[in-house]
């Protein structure tokens, strides 16, 4: 077994140009494959991390996002009285009535405007989202025209650095703090006092109510009560579900794009591997004959050529993955069509993606090498030896 294997391996070294070309083709394919998986994973992670399992969000029925929703003060006060809402250490209910709108802000550098989410928060909003930490400055004073900006926003939008001013709703708003929220969607938001925002935007309705459940299994009960109450036109969702729904379209788009690209690209790379392996077999006909004459079985030959092809693609896959891992340094920001607002997420490499990519590359090598390997193994000893 050892001889055919080392023979294959040494052959790769001898035909350096061909090996390099085929391997780099494979590497590019695996790079694309891994990158798209990483992108989808990054998006999923960002949106799933944004929600907490025991938080419930209430929005107006049939409105799929907070921006579309509107809850008037009366309905909000009814919805807030659910007995299942947890009580915070300050003795008050862990519920926040919030307002979410979208404003246009110019990006730093390009000056191109994009949509940024503005969230008017209540006193309890921060307690509901333990992921959030202030990394610079201070919290806005209640009742003042002060806001804090998420880390991603500060970096990318003009006027969102600490001490800078934003103008909207006929007022100037000073950025007094910058917050970080793990890898969540909140990183792409600007927060301020909800009552001030309602004034400024002349919009006397809340967008959503978020609250923590005393016991997470109470969800069905609360949902039934809120949605069955004739005074309310609201619906309740687990926060996790709400954020997963918001990325549905984008996830689907990435999946379709990724799948089609991977299929097309891998066909290209497999053709490359097949060509290389057929040539390898053709060039080594007499060597194969010699091996067979020495007593190696057909399956040894089959195995040797398959191993050569799979080794080649494995090296390619490893190289592709190596370069793909650098993509983790990049952050992609784009507008999510469903929420119509800016969302930043980064490429995320997981162990699962590493395994998938390597398995994928080996499968490509196998499929590319299987026909040439069969041809090699089926050669007649006499004919092969007499070939020049």
């Amino acid at each position: 077994m050892k001889i055919p294997l080392s023979y294959s391996f040494r052959n790769l070294l001898t035909r350096r140009l061909t090996t390099t070309l085929t391997t780099s083709g494979m590497a590019l394919v695996v790079f694309v494959f891994a990158t798209i998986l990483m992108l989808a994973e990054g998006l999923r992670k960002t949106l799933v991390d944004t929600g907490s399992y025991d938080n419930v969000i209430i929005i107006r029925r049939a409105s799929t996002t907070e921006v579309q929703s509107g809850i008037d003060r009366y309905q909000a006060s009814v919805a807030e009285t659910q007995p299942e809402i947890a009580i915070g250490h300050n003795g008050r209910k862990l519920a926040a009535k919030e307002m979410v709108v979208i404003i246009n802000l110019p990006k730093r550098g390009s000056e191109k405007p994009s949509n940024v989410t503005i969230r008017g928060i209540g006193e309890q909003s921060l307690l509901l989202r333990p992921q959030i930490e202030l990394i610079e400055g201070r919290m806005p004073k209640p009742g003042s025209s002060e806001v804090i900006a998420g880390e991603n926003i500060t970096r990318r939008f003009r006027g969102c650095g600490i001490g800078e001013k934003l103008h909207f709703g006929m007022r100037d708003w000073t950025v007094v703090g910058i917050f970080r929220a793990g890898s969540t969607g909140f990183n792409s938001e600007i927060w301020g006092d909800v009552d001030q925002f309602m004034q400024a935007f002349r919009r006397p309705v809340y967008s959503s109510i978020t609250f923590r459940l005393r016991d997470y299994s109470d969800f069905e009960k609360v949902k039934e009560r809120i949605e069955g109450d004739p005074r309310l036109t609201l619906e309740a969702k687990r926060e996790i579900q709400y954020y997963a729904d918001q990325s549905e379209m984008m996830t689907k788009f990435l999946r379709i794009l990724g799948m089609s690209l991977t299929i097309i690209f891998s066909i290209g790379a497999m053709i490359g591997a097949t060509i290389t392996m057929y040539a390898a077999v053709a060039n080594r006909t007499s060597e194969i004959g010699t091996l067979r004459a020495l007593g190696f079985q057909r399956r040894n030959i089959l195995f040797a050529f398959l191993a050569e092809s799979m080794l080649m693609s494995f090296i390619g896959g490893f190289a592709g993955l190596f370069f793909a891992s650098f993509m983790q340094l990049l952050t992609i920001s784009t507008v999510n069509w469903q929420t119509f607002s800016e969302l930043a997420f980064s490429f995320t490499l997981t162990g699962e993606i590493v395994c998938q990519s390597l398995i994928f590359s080996v499968i490509m090598g196998f499929l590319g090498g299987v026909f040439p390997a069969f041809r090699a193994s089926r050669m007649n000893i006499i004919d092969a030896l007499s070939a020049r």
């Binding site: 107006r60 049939a62 709108v101 097309i264 290209g268």
Partner: protein, 385 residues
């Protein structure tokens, strides 16, 4: 003529290898073409925009509305020919998965400002007359098999409730770039109901569409409009329709860039495949090249042989790829119609296809050519395999 014959004979020596290489190029060109078309589809709104239309929206963002009272004030501004208005309604048909772009518009002025949406005269009058009516684009009508006279129910997402319409017309685009997937209905129908349910939101519109006579005046007129409403509760931003559509594209620029990058990657991958084929071919024939040199053929003749063979491969693959691009794009456009209303293969895409395959053929031949030209006759003859 001899050299051409030699090139074709050479190309056909390894039939399987040639076939595989050509297949690879075909797939790559096909993928490249589809990806370019995808990028173009992103810009379809920009392409379809007219230079004689301006769009005014609330300066805070599109989520905020503008009062209806602005209509008369805008109309008074010199250079303005006509004013219409529209609201993004975003109603869902049966379920949210059946995405249809739908707008509440002022029908008469809207159709005047959008001459590219063609309707038979009787359907047009019926639409304008009936307050509960709607018109839909050809593609969306085909998708849901709507006929004129059908009733359509949308579930409001931004404006709660169920909304019923009667389809009074099916429009089709005057040009290929026109979006035929939208649905339009009466702004008045929406407004009447809002007056009853949420008076706060009535007498408002999303955007104003402003028709102008002279595209050269676009900047001044925009400025005049924005100045009129400066320091009011609802300040405006007015821009050309093109700039307005462009702002949507630039919001998702990152995705467009990724697709563009990938479309170039596919060309690089195929370059590796073709270069590999050519390297192997030249390597196997080193002995022959040496013999040819002995017979007195110059290095450049051999270079032409290799380059010619490489180009034969890529150009054949390219032609096949281009032929396949059209049916694929049509199929793709149908299945992805939800995301992309317009999905047409452009002439530039075809030119780029040809240029890419030519470049691949050229570059793939460089290294083997160099090796074949440089080799000494004695070395070439001595070499085996």
């Amino acid at each position: 003529m001899h050299i051409l014959k030699l090139i074709f004979r050479n190309a056909l020596r390894h039939k399987l290898r040639t076939a595989l290489t050509i297949l690879g190029i075909t797939i790559a060109i096909l993928a490249f073409g589809i990806l370019r078309t995808l990028v173009n589809a992103w810009y379809s709104g920009v392409e379809a925009s007219s230079s004689t239309r301006l769009i005014a929206r609330n300066s805070i963002s599109l989520v905020f509305s503008l009062p209806l009272s602005y209509r008369e004030k805008i109309r008074q501004i010199p250079g303005v020919k006509g004013v219409s208005y529209a609201i993004w309604f975003n109603g869902a048909y049966i379920s949210e998965k059946n995405f249809i772009p739908n707008f509440a518009v002022e029908p008469k002025t809207f159709l005047e400002l959008y001459p590219e949406y063609l309707l038979p005269e009787d359907q047009k009058t019926a639409f304008i007359r009936d307050r509960k009516s709607a018109i839909a684009g050809r593609k969306v009508a085909e998708r849901f098999q709507w006929k004129v006279g059908d009733s359509i129910t949308l579930k409001g997402t931004i404006f709660p409730g169920t909304w019923e319409f009667v389809l009074r017309g099916i429009y089709y685009g005057a040009e290929k770039t026109a979006d035929e997937t939208q649905l339009f209905f009466h702004w008045n129908y929406l407004n009447e109901r809002l007056k009853k349910t949420t008076p706060r939101r009535s007498d408002q519109t999303g955007v104003y569409i402003i028709g102008i006579d002279n595209p050269d005046q676009a900047a001044e007129i925009s400025e005049a409009i924005d100045k009129t409403f400066k320091n009011s509760l609802a300040e405006t931003i007015t821009e050309t329709e093109k700039a307005f559509q462009m702002s949507f594209v630039s919001m998702t620029q990152a995705i467009v860039t990724v697709i563009q990058l990938v479309s170039f990657l596919v060309i690089i991958i195929i370059m590796a495949v073709v270069a590999n084929t050519m390297a192997m071919t030249a390597r196997e024939r080193i002995g022959e090249y040496a013999i040819m040199k002995t017979l007195g053929f110059g290095g450049w003749y051999i270079a032409a042989l290799i380059l010619g063979e490489s180009l034969v491969l890529t150009i054949t693959g390219c032609v096949l790829g281009i032929i396949l691009t059209f049916p694929t794009a049509e199929h793709f456009g149908k299945t992805m119609g939800n995301f992309f209303p317009v999905f047409n293969v452009s002439v530039i895409t075809i030119v780029l296809d040809a240029a890419a395959s030519f470049l691949v053929g050229l570059l793939a031949a460089v290294f083997p050519t160099w090796r074949a030209v440089k080799i000494h006759i004695a070395d070439g003859l001595r070499r085996i395999g």
